[in-house]
Symmetry: C2
Subunit: 347 residues, 2 copies
């Protein structure tokens, strides 16, 4: 039997995210066995590729219609594995971040690409339980005459936590788990990608972070990286196999980073005011995803994109109030805002 | 007593929108006398200028807490009158649309600007009643050595209607009223600006219009206009006074274009399913405003902008469902979608 590393990376990634998707969905279903299962549906892309969506949502008009309040309100664990031809404009944009990509900008030819990713967004019902998001992706551009000859490749990903009420122990647990996953692959990864996350998940118009952060990274490959030191004294994964091992550590860390928090929070009592605060804060989540998130923007502008999968990230019920009076100093809501305005080191 | 036309246009506009704001708010308050009044609050801008917000919203946790369901769920009628210095980057961008603006792009100087506008967004509670939006604005750039010497000026504006259920007679009434207001000032205005509206309030990722349209226009001044014929056989307002008269006709038409529709719809019975559809469709409204609306984008990127006034346009309660099963062929919801996918001529 061939070792897994003899397989092309695209196959290895597809296998891994397919298995991880099922593991994660099963973990959520075990957390809340009385709730309906995730709805699994597969789709194919006319231009090449496929996806599998696993989405949780409950009956539309009354979540507690059967007298049971599910732990999750809305959630999606989706994979997509697509391929096709990259138009010259997209290649030129990519070349800005990947100078090693052999491409003559005047040639005006297209290049074959392959992209595989897993996206997770979970919006629990209880305002004491945080929303969680993770995404892991692999991208490849190959030779127009031989699609097995890879011209450029990189991994990207990350995960962050968006609480509605601050439980410091949850933030510490989340960051500790991600840091442990990173540290196996080099000490520079966690601090660099934690900082990048704080910068990325930020709403300038609100002057607030989206949540208490986590990890964010992109364009990770064998080349030198603008966010990582290049010295030999700071080892970090460089080969595709090494970076894939790092990605797997992070993917495997999703359940242990988040499920223990949900277990503690989803059965806590809460008031209508706390629910109101949650819905108002979810408005910020929507603002971030629709105004700033690069993946969402890029996805929505891609002809033939599957809009329902892209916007699956949005919470079910959301509220916008003019000059909302919650979040004042000395309140629990205000404690959250303080942390969003001044990102902290949690580990 | 001086005739109004001897006053600088900025003063005339400020006077008009200030009076119109009060007339509109009063009309809504008369429509629903049992509801709480609009909350009026004034603000000043550190960099220069002021605004007055008139916002309607009800108690947060239960709109019908006192056994009374207000006609509106959320609404704002806001004016702002601001002035300051335009940075070179903003001037260069403006020069693209206003070539007559005397400005040397290499000079790197700032120019004084003045901007006054009225914005109206009304989200009724009853799903049978449409959401309505209007905006009228005046912009001036003046000489850095003499702020009374106007170097460039233009008006912009429009209004559109976003129904959740289609009542053709409402769409016809709305468009007829706007057309009558336009036609007093030239026959070319309504068809040109109706078309512009259909193009502007469009969500490419959904392949849907936001609503049943109305009017949209910008950069209207004495110069030739890319959307209007330049021939003498198609007269249209050209001077600042003529264009202001057109703006006033439109502003005056807001109440007669919309209130009679509300009067007919806000007391109709509705089901929880209809309410659900309304909340899902409001998600599209949020998507448009946060992803595409130029005013919102520009506003949020302006340092020191009043975010609460800009995002006042967002509905109170909103819902996103994955693969919502409503809107099928042969349903009332599906009838609306047909019109959003193929804009109609209503007059």
């Amino acid at each position: 039997m061939a070792s897994s590393s003899s397989k092309p990376m695209r196959e290895q990634v597809e296998e891994y995210i397919t298995a991880l998707q099922e593991r994660i969905v099963t973990a959520f279903e075990k957390l809340d066995p009385k709730a309906p299962s995730f709805k699994r549906d597969s789709w194919t892309r006319a231009q090449g590729g496929l996806g599998k969506s696993c989405v949780f949502q409950t009956a539309a008009n009354d979540a507690s219609a059967n007298g049971y309040e599910s732990a999750l309100e809305k959630g999606g664990v989706n994979i997509s594995v697509v391929h096709g031809k990259l138009p010259p404009t997209a290649i030129k944009q990519m070349k800005a971040d990947h100078s090693s990509l052999p491409y003559d900008p005047d040639s005006n030819t297209t290049l074959p690409f392959f992209a595989a990713g897993l996206s997770i967004v979970i919006h629990p019902r209880n305002p004491n339980a945080p929303t969680s998001h993770s995404n892991y992706r692999y991208f490849e551009v190959s030779d127009p005459d031989d699609s097995n000859k890879v011209l450029a490749w990189w991994f990207g990903g990350g995960g962050d936590l968006t609480p509605y009420y601050l439980f410091e122990e949850d933030a510490v647990h989340f960051h500790k788990t991600l840091k442990a996953a990173c540290d196996q692959h080099g000490q520079v990864l966690y601090p660099s990608f934690k900082k990048w996350c704080d910068e990325y998940f930020y709403l300038p118009h609100r002057q607030e972070a989206r949540g208490i952060g986590g990890l964010f990274f992109d364009d990770l490959n064998h080349e030198s990286h603008k966010r990582l030191p290049d010295s030999d004294s700071s080892p970090r994964p460089r080969t595709a196999e090494e970076i894939f091992a790092f990605i797997k550590s992070l993917g495997d860390a999703f359940v242990p980073s988040y499920l223990p928090i949900l277990e503690k929070r989803v059965h806590m009592p809460y008031t209508p005011e706390q629910r109101r605060w949650q819905l108002v804060r979810r408005g910020r989540y929507v603002e971030f995803n629709l105004i700033y998130d690069r993946g969402t923007k890029f996805g929505l502008m891609t002809p033939g994109a599957r809009v329902e999968s892209i916007l699956m990230t949005l919470p079910e019920t959301v509220r916008w109030e003019y000059m909302c009076d919650m979040g004042g100093e000395g309140t629990e809501e205000g404690r959250l805002l303080e942390v969003l305005q001044k990102p902290r080191e949690w580990v």
